[in-house]
């Protein structure tokens, strides 16, 4: 684990670099592509708090993402709310949705939980389809006020906003990981009865994990209307978001905050690059094969692979003692 000082320095430097980037890099394309990668960092990090730390696999990431997208799109349309307000509101909606989902975990576990979250996506998508104020199937066109001049353009602006969100998400994830909260989550993942016996209020902890995770994922959706200028249910609740949300932490490693970040950067970048290079059905084929290859060859993710290569026995049990 990185030292807190190092981590804080890197975070601040990255943040500062991000804000200087529009002054240095003229080509807006990198902000478009970077935005998507950053968005996935936030989503994967948020997913990992529930899925990686606490061990509850959320299939329905797109429900939270879509809720965030629509909250902010609606606020933009109806009240011309500034982006900050949209993000905060989206996060709150995500937290509320997370708590509702969390109540499910009080009763159901394992695959049942995962399927329930899948159902959540369909229910929310249906509601959006049938709500005139949210534009139904046609969606909403979301063109807001021009961004502050410093950023040189809308995309640079939302990129920086997403960078801040990504840093925030990672800071939260890292804080959780090293704090009592993260120890509680991981205790739940390892064994709920043992966690209970150590005084961990597992039910409340699961609610908290769902709420934080949901809030972060929904926040990741909030700048989307400002990025794409148009929202509609199919992409807001798309399967790709849910798929990436679980594939990215898996590829990076689910045990530490760094895993989802590495996975999101790697898979997100590959997808972005593949979109504009391979650019055919072979693109999706490559992603599919990549997933299979990772699961088979590096099931603990890159970080797991790295520590296995480096530490050898560190993560595996010692060989059985030789009998006397």
């Amino acid at each position: 684990m990185m030292r807190t000082g190092t981590f804080a320095t890197i975070a601040v430097l990255l943040g500062a670099a991000g804000f200087l980037l529009p002054q240095v890099v003229a080509n807006p394309y990198y902000f478009y592509a970077g935005y998507v990668v950053l968005q996935y960092i936030v989503i994967a990090t948020g997913w990992n708090i529930l899925g990686g730390y606490a061990g509850y696999i959320n299939f329905g990431t797109s429900a939270f993402f879509g809720a965030g997208v629509y909250t902010s799109a609606y606020l933009m349309q109806a009240f011309e709310a500034p982006l900050v307000v949209q993000i905060v509101a989206a996060a709150l909606v995500g937290v509320a949705l997370g708590v509702a989902t969390g109540y499910l975990t009080l009763r159901i576990q394992g695959v049942y939980f995962s399927i329930a979250t899948l159902a959540l996506v369909v229910v929310l998508e249906t509601v959006v389809h049938n709500t005139e104020a949210l534009g139904g199937a046609s969606g909403l066109t979301t063109i807001g006020p021009p961004p502050p001049a410093w950023f040189k353009g809308q995309t640079q602006y939302v990129f920086c906003v997403m960078l801040v969100l990504a840093l925030l998400a990672v800071v939260i994830a890292r804080w959780i990981e090293t704090s009592w909260l993260g120890r509680g989550f991981r205790a739940i993942r390892a064994s709920e009865p043992a966690a209970e016996s150590c005084g961990v209020p597992t039910l409340r902890m699961k609610l908290i994990a769902c709420a934080i995770s949901g809030g972060i994922i929904a926040a990741a959706g909030a700048p989307y209307p400002s990025y794409a200028y148009h929202v509609e249910p199919v992409s807001a609740f798309g399967l790709l978001i849910a798929l990436n949300a679980l594939a990215m932490p898996l590829i990076g490693g689910t045990r530490s905050w760094m895993g989802p970040v590495i996975g999101a950067v790697l898979l997100g970048t590959i997808q972005q690059v593949a979109t504009v290079t391979i650019s055919s059905e072979y693109n999706i084929l490559a992603v599919g094969l990549l997933l299979i290859a990772f699961v088979v060859a590096a099931p603990e993710g890159l970080l797991g692979l790295l520590s296995a290569v480096r530490g050898g026995v560190r993560w595996s049990a010692k060989p059985a003692r030789k009998p006397a």
Partner: protein, 420 residues
């Protein structure tokens, strides 16, 4: 799990290299001479059936290059797969504009995907040709947008107006409107409702259904009960199929004289072949049918060449619907460049606003929003379809044009009679 600083730096370097890759890759290519025209096509995902538009672009490119190119330069296409996902489109078009430095743009297919490009096109003040998008420029009013679809000047309301004109002309009073819950269908349905109300027709049923529906029994029963004289249906290929089958299975009742209008699907060979005689009597929109009244210059040659390629690529073997308009989209650009002798977009746009373009889908004149000044959506009635042979659809008389009057090749036969 520990990662030390050195390893983190290595990871970081790898990631930066990954991000920088497209720049390195395409940077070298951008040195070339050709005029580059860029767009995204839905090669995968829900809209993948529109990927035959690529053949339209390619044939246009080949024709231009065979004639010596534009301004003495070859034309080159830069095409990416948007996976039918609107979320992927902004990044792709930024890549096209900012990295690949394309000279001219086509939009992605359809309104939802195009909605995410229009702000970019307007901000960068670029010419963009809309590929079968509907009402995409109504809000932004970008003066360099030109539509490659014959929806007419007031597309959202008017593109299916021919259907209502037919209803009025045939003195039909009671109308039912049924639409799939998708952008295009709903826009059309809403437009249809306004047109009907303005014309004093009575809307006896107005219903939206999810695009995954494949059992229309319930809707058809409700429809029968409402006793409409005309049924305006806005549907997508799978549900169009289900609805047409429902017509044979459940029926719509004796009252219906006019059925169809906005069904996407029976323009494609696969559905024509599947549905065959079940289509008889349906009056539906189309963009091109092989009727004698539609002998535009070059269209037949285009289709012949298209069909050879399509067979090989396993895409729609007829190619009546989208590909000619993609070719025409290219013609708009090449004609403008030829006429003005420049690639300056302001001049090209000015020329396109001022001069009609001769294309393989007819002569096109644009209004200030870039829409066609004249609506040229066809309302064609399926007649005398026998069996499931695809060849018959290449003949005249199978899809008789009823509207617009200028292109008319026959008159409405009431629905039940045409099916009998």
């Amino acid at each position: 799990m520990k990662i030390n600083r050195r390893e983190f730096a290595v990871l970081g370097a790898g990631v930066s290299a990954g991000l920088a890759m497209p720049a390195i890759w395409t940077g070298a290519r951008a040195q070339g001479q050709p005029i580059r025209v860029g767009c995204s096509v839905s090669l995968t995902g829900a809209l993948a059936s529109t990927k035959n538009s690529l053949i339209g672009y390619e044939l246009w490119r080949d024709d231009v290059n065979a004639a010596g190119g534009l301004l003495g330069r070859k034309v080159e296409l830069v095409v990416y797969d948007d996976q039918s996902s609107p979320a992927a489109v902004p990044g792709i078009y930024s890549k096209l504009v900012d990295v690949d430095k394309v000279d001219l743009l086509f939009s992605p297919y359809g309104a939802n995907l195009t909605a995410t490009v229009m702000p970019l096109a307007k901000q960068r003040d670029r010419i963009i040709i809309g590929i079968l998008t509907l009402a995409s420029n109504d809000r932004l009013k970008h003066d360099k947008f030109f539509q490659a679809a014959p929806w007419g000047p007031n597309g959202a309301e008017d593109w299916a107006r021919g259907f209502f004109d037919l209803a009025i002309a045939n003195k039909l009073q009671r109308i039912a409107i049924i639409a799939a819950d998708t952008e295009f269908s709903k826009t059309a349905a809403a437009g249809g409702k306004r047109v009907s109300e303005a014309a004093g027709l009575k809307v006896v049923m107005n219903q939206v259904y999810p695009p995954t529906l494949n059992d229309f029994s319930a809707i058809l029963r409700n429809l029968k009960a409402a006793e409409p004289e005309a049924v305006f249906l806005c549907s997508y290929p799978p549900d169009s199929t289900a609805m047409v089958r429902g017509l044979s299975e459940i029926g719509v009742g004796e009252s219906v004289k006019l059925f169809g209008g906005g069904m996407v699907g029976p323009q494609y060979a696969s559905l024509l072949q599947t549905l065959g005689p079940a289509l008889n009597g349906i009056v539906n929109f189309h963009l091109y049918v092989p009727e004698p009244t539609l002998k535009f210059q070059g269209i037949e040659g285009f289709l012949t060449r298209y069909q050879a390629i399509a067979k090989e690529r396993q895409v729609d073997p007829l190619g009546f619907y989208i590909p000619p308009f993609c070719y025409a989209a290219g013609q708009m650009l090449s004609e403008a460049v030829k006429a003005t002798g420049t690639l300056e977009e302001a001049k090209l746009a000015q020329w396109l606003h001022g001069n009609p373009v001769e294309t393989i889908v007819g002569k096109i004149a644009f209004n200030e929003l870039g829409d066609w000044t004249e609506r040229r959506v066809l309302m064609a009635q399926f007649r005398n379809i026998a069996g499931n042979d695809l060849e018959q659809f290449r003949q005249a008389g199978k899809q008789v044009v009823l509207d617009p009057p200028a292109l008319k090749s026959g008159d409405l036969v009431p629905f039940a009679k045409a099916r009998a």
